[in-house]
Amino acid sequence: MTLNSKIPAGPLETKWEKYKSTCKLVNPANKRQLEVIVIGTGLAGASAAASLGEMGYKVKAFCFQDSPRRAHSIAAQGGINAAKNYQNDGDSTYRLFYDTIKGGDYRSREGNVYRLASVSSNIIDQCVAQGVPFAREYGGLLSNRSFGGTQVQRTFYAAGQTGQQLLIGAYQALERQIALGNVKMYSRHEMLEIVMIDGKARGIIARDLVSGKLERHFGHAVLLCSGGYGNVFYLSTNAMGSNVTAIWKAHKQGAYFGNPCYTQIHPTCIPVSGDHQSKLTLMSESLRNDGRIWVPKEKGDTRKPNEIPEEERDYYLERRYPAFGNLVPRDVASRAAKERCDAGYGVGSSKQAVYLDFASAIMRYGKVEAGKKGVENVDDATIKQMGDEVVKEKYGNLFEMYEKITGEDPYKVPMRIYPAVHYTMGGLWVDYELMTNVPGLYSLGEANFSDHGANRLGASALMQGLADGYFVIPYTLGNNLADDIRTKAIPTDHPAFMAAEKEVSDRINRLMNIKGKESVESFHKRLGKIMWDKCGMARNAKGLQEAIEEIKALRKEFWSNVFIPGDINEYNPELDKAGRVADFIELGELMCVDALHRNESCGGHFREEYQTEDGEALRQDDQYMYVAAWEYKGDSNFELHKEELNYEVVHPSQRSYK
């Protein structure tokens, strides 16, 4: 099967306009007959379900949480990018497009990314109209901040809770459609299978997580908006429930998985405190604007940070990257931290952490404040106090969060941070219309592979999720469903539904009947360790080969020794989790296969064999300028399909931050 990305012909700037003007439409009477299933209610899912409901489609939305408002988009802190150029600093659709392509290390599609940049403005308009309370200036207009090393201020934000506010906006739009009867909501439901009829996705099997009952739902189309799969690493900044199950089931039904190995490791997270650790908490990227990152110059230095004099500290980012200093992109900052810790310079009890120090910023701001107030001859304590106030104004909530978790006061002692898995650029392969290679099956938001290439820029995830849901799928779905208006709703006693349900039921029974000795949690932790050690921030061929074998063995052990308490037909979180971990194990293997095959370093994928002399990522454009789309051919059997990436407008170059 050849992969057709269906990028419209013509100049980059007019592709999407042309598509919208010429795509097929469905008239209102027919829309009422067409049923759409949406899996997941994060930014992509909620916005898609709401928009499609508004248009008149009959929508069924599913989420595993107790309410659509809980989806993990809610935890995004920093902001959302849009090429509004409200700051008059030279921003434009093209610049946002260019920054995103470059940030993705030239591994994404020009056509998709340009469309993303061009609808970014509409997103902000839509959200403001919905009542999203973005930060404003005293003049009453929207405020912007800079983010992730771009040269313009294009990030819109609502304090440190932008994701929450955007999701609440989409959630409210969704609830309105539920009230109007256009969307039917199924919370505490998990999708466990795609139902295929005549080569098309025509429905799902879902499990009611409260009663444990399996349900069959028909849809003319199925939209997977189930988010990323960072939890394959066990520890990540994802929510505990975030999982790959929906897209993994789709993958096993024939949908190709694009670039599974591209994982974003965020440099500033609160480090692991012990074996009990269940998840990691992000400290916003914005902290790197004022915090200085350092480790002691001496290996294994056990002194308290404040006892280490200035000249015995190694500000390694400033040393290695004088031009960008502490503000290098996420992948670069993460790898540098790992390099120091691996070399034995790590700090804290685990030695897997570096300092993020605000002392000099506090004094700097304090002096500015003292200057503003015209006070002279002040002692250091007063200056520090003034500086504390300024820093509190800027980062107060983050400092508070840090103190709650660690019990340490970051105004007095430097923060300890370490990189953590944060986002997965890979996902189901989709074409320009967000449809997978399986007809009728779509994927939106983090669940698909598009737009971010090998590395995502800060504040772009929210943008993509909402672009897909509000502004792309309403057009592209219609273009495809226009051919389906004569398809009557298929009754769910169709043999394909029965077979799919039986498949799911058998698998659940199999899991329950293993009655082994080891907990699901324990298997998940073991998988996470393999993935983090061998397919994490830095990878090499030997490690990946080992990892593949270890994962295969782990899978075998899982299916013979896992223990799941409780019953099937009741609320049983252990059973839910077992299904998810079983899928993570299979995905983990594919990620390693993909990482092993990609003999280059790019963005979030760093292969130790492919680096420059001073340790920077080295791409191999001549061999790997393609999307790796993997087809599932059976256990441990994946076939590679390549979608070549053609750069017509941008010329790929080596990224440099020195």
């Binding site: 993990h72 403001v128 309370p133 539920i178 929510a239 009890s349 502004f471």
Partner: protein
Amino acid sequence: MEHYNMNLTLKVWKQKNKNEKGRFETFNVKNISSEMSFLEMFDVLNEQLVAEGKEPIAFDHDCREGICGMCSMYINGRAHGPWHHTTTCQLHMREYKDGDTIVVEPWRANAFPVIKDLVVDRTSFDRIIQAGGYISVNTGNAVDANALPIDKQRADESFAAATCIGCGACVAACPNASAMLFVSAKVSHLALLPQGEPERKMRVVNMIEQMDKEGFGSCTNIGACEAECPKGISLENIARLNREYIGATFSGSAQHE
């Protein structure tokens, strides 16, 4: 910060499902690190139970960073435990010392029926939002985001109300099982913005009606909700809701959709 380990006695509410009666069960956990979060302590307990072949304790949780609003434990008489402006997932074990006994109950309100153990059904909150907690603007209807300047102070106040995470701690903490803080946060969020103006009156009337229908109590201004709200939503919002309601009642334009 000195780290230490502790042994604890937990009295936890166990309830098979909505229809069966629940009761307290006592569990002992050993070697709990002061660095664990409260939910990680529960993870340890659950792993221990699974190892013994028993069913673990069901509890709601997801983001574990205090923003999704899913976690919901009533700990020693306190919604989300004793820390100020904190969700259960952010509560850490350094709050406790060796030998402590901790009683953990689910949110208790008829409008939040127990699903299992500490898990409750909060879909009543969703239905209140469905009654009017939104601005009716279809995708594509928006004007330019800067077409309408909004007073910064109002925008900030609106944001403060909009930070509600819908966890239900206000209901759990309220002796009347009232949802007024939740409803008022949404009413305030939207009433403070010009975009919310057209539906302002209808919204407050319909949301209050739904709130009553769901079986939440009435507000007697006790203030326990504000004290326990992990996001610091202020009682000011309830005053605003009352104002909005009086305005809608006496201005005459409050009609059902």
